[in-house]
Structure formats: C-alpha cells, structure tokens
Symmetry: C2
Subunit: 200 residues, 2 copies
DNA sequence: GCGAACAGAACGTCCGGTCTGTATGTTGCG
DNA sequence: CGCAACATACAGACCGGACGTTCTGTTCGC
C-alpha cells in the first residue's frame, strides 16, 4: 500500500481544477440551463470542494464570465480550423454551408444561447457578452467570405445572402433547441443552398 | 363621506384580478426574464396579496402556463387581424413582409422566448409549450399563404421561401433581443423582400 | 515559513408553497 | 322576501429548502 504522491506544480494544480470547473459549468448550462447551473451543481460535477470553487471564482458572475470566455474560444478555434479541409471551386459550396451550420448545431450553441438570454436581463453579463458576440460575428463573416468564395463576397447581393444565411441558421437552431431529439435531416441545407445559389 | 360600495359578482372579481396577475406576469417576463419573474414580483406588480395569487394559481407552473395561454392567444388574434387591411396584387408583398416581421419584433416575442428557453430544461413547461408552438406555426404559415399570394404558395419553391423567411426572422429577432435599443431600420426588410421575390 | 490551493462549516437571503383567518358574494330553505 | 349556510375571493404570517457568499482551518508547493 504505497501511496504514490504525484507531485505537481501549483500552476498545474490550478489549471486542472480551473479547467474542470469551467467544463462542468458549460456542461451544466447545456443540460440544466442557466437556472439549473448552481454553484453546488458545478462543484459536484467538477468533483471539487466549495472552497476550491470560490478560490478560483470568487463570485458566480466571475464563473459565468470565465465560462463564456472558453465557450467563445472554442467557437473561434472551431471556426478557424473548419475552413481548412474543403474542396475548391463550385463543389465547395455545399459542404461549406453544412460546415457553417455545424457552428450552430451543437451543444456550444445551446450553452451560448442560455448565456445570451440570461444576458438580456443581466447588465453585467450583457456588457461582457457583447464584445464576444461582435468578435464571433466578424469571424463568421470571414468564414463565409472564405467559404462562399471571394467572387461571391464582393457581389453586391452577397450581403443579402450572408445576412439571410446567418439569421436563418440561428432561427433554425433556436427551433431545434426545443426538440433536441428531432431528426436533423430536414431540408434546411437544401434551402440554404438554393438561396445562396440564387444570390450568387 | 358616503362609502360607495361597488357591488361586483364573484365572476367579475375573479376575472379582474386574474387578468391583472397574468398581465403582471407577462410584463415581468419581458422586463426581468424568467429568472426574475418571482411570485413576489408578480404579486407586487399586480397589486394583489399572496393569498390572492395562490388562490387563482396554486403553483408557479400553473401561473406560467396560464400566462403562456394568454400570450399565444394575443399572438393569434394579432395574426388574424393583421392580414385584414392589406393592399392587393403586387403591392401587397412589401407591407406583408413588414407585417409578418411585426409578429417577431415586440414584447410578445420576448416573453415567448423567455418561456421557450426555460422550457428547454423544464419538461412540464416544454410539454405544454409544444402544442401552442405548433398551432402558432400553422397560423403563421396560413398568414404567409394569404399574404404572399396563392400563386406563390403553390409554387414548389415557395416552401423554400417560407422556411427561409420565418427562420431568418426568428434569428433576427433573437439578435435584437440583446440590443433592445438598437435602431430597427436595418436592411432586413429589403433582404427578405429580395429573397421572396427571387423565389416567386 | 510563507503564500497559494483547497476543504468544509456557517450565515443571511430569497423563493415557492402552505396554513389560518377574514370579507364578500351566492344559494337554498321556510 | 329574509336569513342562515355555504362557497368563493382575498389577506398575510409562517415554514422548509435552496442558493450565493463569507469565514476559518488545513495541505502543499516553493
């Protein structure tokens, strides 16, 4: 019965528990919503004590802001790496639309939406959320430009296609939120494809 | 100092307080969100006692369900009366789109969205919300059919236009939720108009 | 030893639900 | 018609639980 003492630096210890807590927070947001994401729930999911949680995040607001940071961070890396392996030319369009839709269809969007709605009536959260949302909007616009082709991006009607595409995807994602088990094989991709083609 | 005793029937008394409570509930949903809509807040806004509230709505769930009922009821009457005074022919299209957008741009949508998101992680609320949402969807589809013209409605690409229009409007309304004071004079109406025309 | 990482008890607040008591309509019976 | 019995509308105190925060004590790396 030799107790193996794993010796870790303070920075390592801090980083692991911090990451575990933030992961637990995001998971709780997805599964239980903003109302169900209590500090007790987070600490239970992360397997840390009350003291550990409050040590890293002195208030719940700090916790949510930090979670928001990693949330949008993951969004950004997803967006950046997404456009890497795509075909070129006209064949690019269809998988590209599916790829952008992938940014909206998943737990990350769900968690972000919970924070989004909560931020409406929480000034502190709202003030913190707006710049992130602005940055993400710019990134998505860049992704669309890359993905839909530069020729399309400079077309005057491209702005119409871009706005319609993103707002429609957000609206569709909202609809799916209430029906998490509904089949995702709807005709949306066809509709978006037809729309973008019509405006190209 | 003659005390004028306004003699009201039980039904009248019941109806007025019930209406006041439900109105206060919807207002609180809009101004404070689902989390801020506490029973104490509602009774304060409605100017009723705790007893009065619990007498009419034995649980908070019952209160929210009843509020949801009047909420979707107002939506429905709005939709029905909306299509009444519209021009005919081609001139119908532009004001029609603005009219449909009017269903999404306002406090009613905000309150419904709060319930919508809360319903995601609240099985009881979710079960109650789904049929309402289905009915509203059917009504909006009927409104679009009336408003975009029967010729358009039978066009095979009309389904695409319809889906894009409603999802895009929902997505745009979500974006405005975080910026309640932003100018509503964006180019969305032009985009939607162009899209519907392209698919007609 | 000194500070950071963590553990866990304790506290004050708020919220939803319940309970008892009172006033005001409504109804049935003579 | 008149009054008693009843039902409904409302008032407000009370309770148990949950939540976020604060506090004190302990371990561990430097």
């Amino acid at each position: 019965m030799t107790q193996v003492v794993v010796r870790r630096t303070q920075a390592e210890r801090s980083a692991t528990t911090r990451a575990a807590v933030l992961r637990a927070t995001i998971d709780a947001l997805v599964e239980l919503g903003h109302a169900g994401t209590t500090t007790a729930e987070v600490q239970a999911r992360a397997g840390v004590s009350r003291g550990a949680l409050t040590h890293h995040f002195p208030s719940k607001a700090a916790l949510l802001l930090a979670a928001m940071d990693v949330l949008y961070g993951e969004f950004s890396t997803d967006v950046r790496t997404a456009a890497a392996d795509l075909p070129t030319g006209r064949a690019r369009l269809r998988p590209a639309i599916a790829l952008i839709w992938g940014r909206f269809d998943g737990p990350l969007f769900t968690a972000a939406m919970e924070l989004w709605v909560a931020a409406r009536t929480d000034p502190e959260l709202r003030a913190a959320l707006l710049p992130y949302e602005r940055r993400l909007g710019a990134q998505l616009r860049g992704l669309c430009r890359d993905v839909l082709g530069a020729d399309l991006a400079d077309h005057p009607r491209a702005e119409t296609a871009y706005q319609l595409l993103l707002t429609s995807m957000r609206g569709q994602a909202m609809a799916y939120v209430l029906q998490p088990d509904a089949p995702r094989e709807g005709p949306h991709l066809d509709h978006w494809y037809a729309m973008v083609e019509a405006f190209a």
